[in-house]
């Protein structure tokens, strides 16, 4: 029996609460109550209202899809159907190159964030030593610093090292920006693990490093997924950092490429819409698959 099984079993036995990562408890009684109120004609009105709200929220998708299937002339005329814009998209925007850049940069930055936030989160939650709370406040406090406040010194510093227009600069900046919140999230998660699990591992002769790697990390999968999903969407959708640190067209992420295309002098709206759809699809796919984790991460701050 390896240490992981052991700790999982222990965890189950103590019924550990892992910081609200489970979906909220269903409320069958409330549902029954609501069903009891069905005689209410207001429910029909509510349904229609929600359909209208949903339409407003999905309007951009409708607009993008509808207009991407038009040629430029058809767009001006206001009707018609054509796939011309989709075939022109790939010459107007180096789609695959930019999708690759986005993936590489987001992936590398997320690795940095995961490494820094899990080591720090584990320490803050489970290793008491002097000076810990000062460091905790220091790292978590950086959550409040907006990127715009540091972007100028950051730019100058990285250009001293000749890193502007390299993937490295964007990866490092995204990695640093994501670490404080991820550390906050991992600390909250590891606090939910019972101390007994860690103590048992230490008594079995594991070092702190190995306890982190072999026991704590495998137990933290839901929190890891939450960090990955939140950061992926954040980095994928970001413009400012990419705009400043990746000025070479060949290095651009898809979001920066799309912004550049949009601010270009001659821009075909249907092609732009096709590009917007392509840039949005990966983040939407991640959203659809991991919606639960996204919400868990977003709402974690409430119970601080």
């Amino acid at each position: 029996m390896n240490a992981h099984d052991q700790s999982t079993r222990l965890l189950r036995r103590v019924g550990a609460d892992t910081a609200g990562f489970d979906s909220p408890a269903p409320t069958p009684r409330l549902a029954k109550l609501a069903r009891g109120l069905r005689a209410d004609p207001a429910r029909g009105a509510i349904f229609i209202f929600l359909v209208a709200v949903t339409f407003v929220m999905l309007y951009p998708f409708y607009f993008m899809v509808k207009n991407s299937f038009m040629s430029s002339q058809q767009y001006i005329a206001g009707h018609g159907f054509s796939t011309a814009s989709w075939s022109q998209l790939f010459s107007a925007l180096p789609v695959f190159r930019e999708l690759g850049n986005s993936t590489l940069i987001a992936g590398s930055a997320i690795l940095i964030i995961l490494f820094c936030s899990t080591t720090a989160g584990f320490t803050f939650a489970k290793l008491a030593f002097r000076g810990r709370s000062v460091l905790f406040l220091g790292v978590i406090g950086c959550m409040m610093i907006p990127v715009q406040s540091i972007i100028i010194p950051e730019y100058v510093n990285l250009s001293h090292f000749g890193l502007i227009n390299t993937y490295t600069s964007a990866i490092l900046v995204y990695g640093a920006l994501g670490t404080p919140f991820a550390t906050f999230l991992m600390t909250a998660y590891f606090r939910g693990l019972p101390d007994e699990v860690i103590e048992a591992a230490l008594c079995d002769g594991l070092t702190y490093g190995r306890t982190y790697w072999r026991i704590a990390l495998p137990l933290a999968k839901p929190a890891l997924v939450t960090v990955i999903v939140l950061q992926f969407i954040q980095i994928w959708d970001d413009l400012l950092v990419g705009l400043l640190f990746l000025q070479e067209p060949a290095n651009r992420t898809i979001t920066v490429g799309l912004a550049a295309l949009s601010s270009g002098r001659v821009v075909s709206i249907p092609i732009l819409m096709a590009g917007a759809i392509v840039s949005a699809l990966p983040a939407i796919a991640v959203y659809i698959v991991f919606q639960r984790y996204l919400i868990a991460g977003m709402t974690l701050g409430i119970n601080r």
């Binding site: 109550l33 429910r43 929600l50 951009p60 010194p153 640093a176 799309l258 949009s262 959203y287 409430i302």
Partner: protein
């Protein structure tokens, strides 16, 4: 396991000290990645920003001027204009909270398909501000979606290119901002509503309380924390997350009409080349955000 029990008192103390030292060493090592990344790429740059905000800095050379730079900034009419724009955007914060509150409470009535409504309304959260901005430009342009709605309801005389006048341009940015907050805030309120014990509603139903009075007297007070959270989140978003939207929709214009603090940093540093002024506006932005956080902490303290 029985090690500590078997040991003598003195031995136990020594063992504990050694354990403590080990733990401190492990803790420092495990914290190193996070501290280096956050320190090097966030803490150091914010220190630099504060120093350079009091200099005349072009990115290469800097001459010390002193704190007087801040006095000069607050006498700069463009800066005051920018602050005013931030103030105007703050006016939209209550709307960005009340609208999602209404939507959430209607979804919480659990009419047919409510889970689908919830997912679809949250979906735009995944797409980038760049994509949102690209569509929003066409919504507010002339001809655009808003203009055609105005024409249909007989308000044709209001039709215009909303982005070409400062007053209507900031309105367009504000409306887009409200739209984009709907998903997030709705989910926050729904999460809050799911934590309310259904027995409370049952008791209210027994007392024959009306739907409206249940909402005002039970739901709203129980959602206090969630209001606070969404309020702070919405304010922070208004101050720090609209760069890409403004970049795409208006470029800060017309005539600084939609330039907010965060956008002004970018314009000053990277269009004009005043790195010192840019850093200074960054410090002002940070100070405002710290103020918001202080108010939040103070409110939370009052609760205990």
């Amino acid at each position: 396991m029985g090690l500590a029990i078997a040991a003598t008192t003195a031995g136990a103390r020594e063992g504990r000290n050694r354990l403590g030292r080990n733990r401190a060493r492990a803790g420092v090592l495990l914290l190193l990645p996070a501290v280096l990344v956050v320190g090097g790429f966030i803490a150091v740059p914010i220190g630099q920003a504060i120093y350079y905000s009091m200099t005349n800095w072009n990115g290469i050379t800097a001459q010390w001027v002193g704190p007087g730079t801040y006095l000069a900034l607050f006498k700069n009419p463009i800066f005051l204009r920018v602050l005013e724009n931030n103030g105007l955007l703050l006016l939209s914060v209550p709307v960005a909270i009340v609208v999602p509150l209404v939507i959430a409470s209607l979804i919480n009535e659990k009419v047919w398909g409510w889970k689908i409504f919830r997912s679809l309304i949250f979906l735009p959260t995944a797409i980038s501000w760049v994509v949102i901005g690209i569509v929003a430009v066409r919504v507010f342009a002339d001809p655009g979606a808003i203009d055609s709605i105005l024409g249909t309801v007989g308000l044709g005389f209001l039709q215009r290119d909303f982005l070409s006048q400062p007053g209507t341009a900031i309105l367009a940015v504000g409306l887009t901002f409200v739209w984009s907050m709907v998903g997030t805030n709705t989910i926050i309120f729904l999460t809050g509503m799911s934590t309310i014990d259904p027995a409370i509603y049952e008791a209210a139903a027994v007392d024959a309380a009306g739907r409206w009075s249940i909402f005002i007297r039970i739901t709203i007070p129980l959602l206090k924390r969630y209001f606070q959270f969404s309020f702070v989140l919405t304010i922070i978003t208004a101050f720090t997350a609209l760069f890409s939207l403004i970049f795409i929709m208006t470029g800060g214009g017309p005539n600084y009409g939609t330039t907010t603090l965060e956008f002004f940093i970018y314009l000053e540093a990277f269009s004009v080349g005043n790195f010192g002024t840019g850093a200074m506006i960054g410090v002002v932005l940070l100070t405002i955000l710290l103020g918001v956080s202080m108010v939040q902490l103070w409110l939370l303290r009052g609760e205990h």
